[in-house]
C-alpha cells in the first residue's frame, strides 16, 4: 500500500540511523499483518479514506519514531537536585564576589561616580547568566558521562548518600508575617529589583530627569535650587538601599530567604526613618534656595519661604506616618513573641 510506504518512509527519517533498517522492517511486518487482517475482515481492499483513517490512528511519523529514541534530557532527575543547589550557590557567590571586587576597584580608583557604579550594577545580570551557563554546561557533561559511560562515572546520586541526620539544621518556625513562605524565585526577584533600584538611584545625580522627568527643564529654567540637605538625605537613601541589598544577598547565600526575619523588617523600617529625620532637621528648614538671591529675593523670596514651610510640614507628616507604622510593627512583634512564649510554656 502506497500510503503505508509513505508513512514508513517518513518514520525512517526520524529514527536513529544505525537501527533504521531493522526498525522499519519490523514495523512494516507488523503493520502489514494488521492491514491484511483488516482487509480480510472487510473482504476487500481498504478504500483510500479507510487507509487514511487507519494510518492516522498510528500517530504522526515523528511521534511514532520518538518512541524508539532513548529518553533524553540535558540534566536528568538524579543530577537535578545537585545542579539546582550548585546553581544557587554559584550565582549567589558570583554576585557577592563580583560586587565586592568592583566595589574595591571603584573605591580605590581615582574617581567614584554614579555612572561607573551603575554600569557595575547593570552588568551583574550578564555575569549571573554566564555563571548559570557554565554550571549548566558542567552538569550537562556529568549527565552525559553518567548516561553513556556509567562504569567510568561514579554514582551521582551517591553525592547525597553520605548525609547524616545529625547534620540537619535545627527546627525553625515557618510562619512569616503574612503567613506565606517566600519562594527562591521571589527572593531572587527582590534582590534583582534591589539592584535595579540602586542603579537607578546612582544615576540620578548625573541624570536628574530619571527622577523628575520633564520637570528638570522647569527646575533648570526656574530661579530655584535644591538645598544641600537633599544630597545628604540622598546618600543616606543610597547607603540604606545598599545595606538592604547586601542583607538580601546574604539571606540568599545562607539559605534563609524562605523566612523574612521580623527583626530585619523592623530594623529596615527604623533605619528608613533616618533620611526623613535628616530632612525634618534641615538647617533653618531650608529645602529650596534661590539661584540668584541678590536679584530674585524681592520677587521670589516669599514663594521660597512658603514652599520651605510646606515641604517641612509634609516631611513631618511623613515622619509621623512612618513612626506610627514602625510602632505598630514593633507592638505586633512583641505580641507575637509573647503569644509564642505562652504557647510553648
Amino acid at each position: 500500500m502506497e500510503l503505508l510506504d509513505r508513512y514508513l518512509q517518513a518514520v525512517r527519517k526520524h529514527l536513529p540511523w544505525k537501527r533504521q533498517e531493522d526498525i522499519i522492517a519490523e514495523l512494516r511486518t507488523n503493520l502489514e499483518s494488521q492491514l491484511d487482517e483488516k482487509q480480510d475482515e472487510l473482504g476487500r481492499p481498504m478504500t483510500p479514506a479507510e487507509a487514511e483513517t487507519w494510518i492516522m490512528k498510528l500517530g504522526s511519523p515523528m511521534q511514532m519514531a520518538s518512541h524508539y529514541q532513548p529518553q533524553r534530557y540535558l540534566i536528568g532527575p538524579t543530577v537535578f537536585p545537585s545542579y539546582l543547589h550548585v546553581l544557587r550557590l554559584a550565582s549567589t557567590w558570583a554576585a557577592v564576589l563580583y560586587l565586592l571586587v568592583n566595589a574595591i576597584n571603584l573605591f580605590t580608583g581615582t574617581t567614584l561616580h554614579g555612572a561607573a557604579v551603575a554600569s557595575v550594577i547593570f552588568n551583574l545580570p550578564f555575569v549571573l547568566v554566564e555563571v548559570a551557563a557554565w554550571v549548566t554546561l558542567v552538569f550537562a557533561g556529568i549527565e552525559f558521562t553518567a548516561a553513556h559511560f556509567p562504569d567510568k562515572c561514579p554514582n551521582i546520586g551517591g553525592f547525597h548518600a553520605k548525609w547524616s541526620p545529625r547534620d540537619l539544621p535545627p527546627l525553625q518556625p515557618i510562619e512569616t508575617p503574612n503567613g506565606k513562605r517566600r519562594t527562591y524565585a521571589q527572593a531572587m526577584a527582590e534582590a534583582a529589583f534591589g539592584f535595579v533600584v540602586l542603579g537607578w538611584l546612582l544615576l540620578v545625580p548625573q541624570n536628574p530627569y530619571l527622577m523628575f522627568g520633564p520637570g528638570v527643564a522647569y527646575l533648570n529654567a526656574s530661579p530655584y535650587l535644591l538645598a544641600p540637605v537633599w544630597m545628604t538625605a540622598y546618600w543616606w537613601i543610597v547607603g540604606l538601599n545598599a545595606v538592604q541589598l547586601t542583607w538580601r544577598c546574604l539571606d540568599l547565600l545562607r539559605g534563609t530567604w524562605q523566612r523574612p526575619d521580623l527583626a530585619q523588617h523592623i530594623v529596615f523600617k527604623a533605619v528608613g526613618l533616618v533620611p526623613l529625620l535628616i530632612l525634618a532637621n534641615a538647617h533653618d528648614r531650608v529645602y529650596l534656595l534661590l539661584k540668584r538671591p541678590d536679584i530674585d529675593s524681592a520677587s521670589y523670596g516669599a514663594t521660597v519661604q512658603g514652599a520651605n514651610q510646606g515641604i517641612h510640614t509634609l516631611i513631618l507628616i511623613l515622619c509621623v506616618i512612618v513612626s506610627a507604622q514602625l510602632a505598630w510593627d514593633i507592638a505586633q512583634s512583641i505580641i507575637e513573641v509573647a503569644r509564642k512564649r505562652a504557647t510553648s510554656s
Binding site: 522492517a25 519490523e26 511486518t29 507488523n30 499483518s33 494488521q34 500517530g59 511514532m64 524508539y68
Partner: protein, 109 residues
C-alpha cells in the same frame, strides 16, 4: 475545583505503564511477533498503541529481558520475541510484587 482532563490522563498513563510491561513480559513466556502480541493483549482487555508496544519490545530486549529472532512465517519475515532466561527470573519477582500491591490495594479498598 475541577481537575483538568490531562491530570486524569497523566495518572492513568502512569498507572498503566508498569502494568503493560508486566503484561507484555508474561505474555512473552510464549513466543510472539509484534502484531500477534498486540492482538493477544487486546483480547485480554489490554489495548496498546502500536507506537507504545513495538518500541517497548525493543527496550525490553535491550535490557536483556527478551530475545528475538527474524524468521519467515506465512511468506513474510517476522521478528519473534520471547522471554530470556534473565526475563524468566525477573518475572517471578515482578509477579510477586504485583500480587503484593494488588492485595494491599484490595485490602485498602
Amino acid at each position: 475545583m475541577t481537575l483538568p482532563d490531562s491530570t486524569f490522563e497523566n495518572l492513568r498513563l502512569e498507572l498503566r505503564r508498569g502494568c503493560l510491561t508486566l503484561a507484555v513480559l508474561v505474555q512473552l513466556r510464549r513466543e510472539h511477533y509484534g502484531y500477534t502480541l498486540r492482538k493477544d493483549l487486546a483480547e485480554h482487555g489490554l489495548v496498546i498503541d502500536e507506537s507504545t508496544l513495538y518500541p517497548l519490545l525493543r527496550r525490553l530486549e535491550n535490557q536483556g529481558l527478551l530475545v528475538s529472532e527474524w524468521r519467515e512465517e506465512d511468506k513474510r519475515n517476522k521478528r519473534f520475541y520471547r522471554l530470556s532466561s534473565d526475563g524468566e527470573q525477573l518475572i517471578g519477582l515482578l509477579l510477586e510484587e504485583w500480587r503484593a500491591i494488588n492485595g494491599s490495594i484490595s485490602s485498602i479498598l
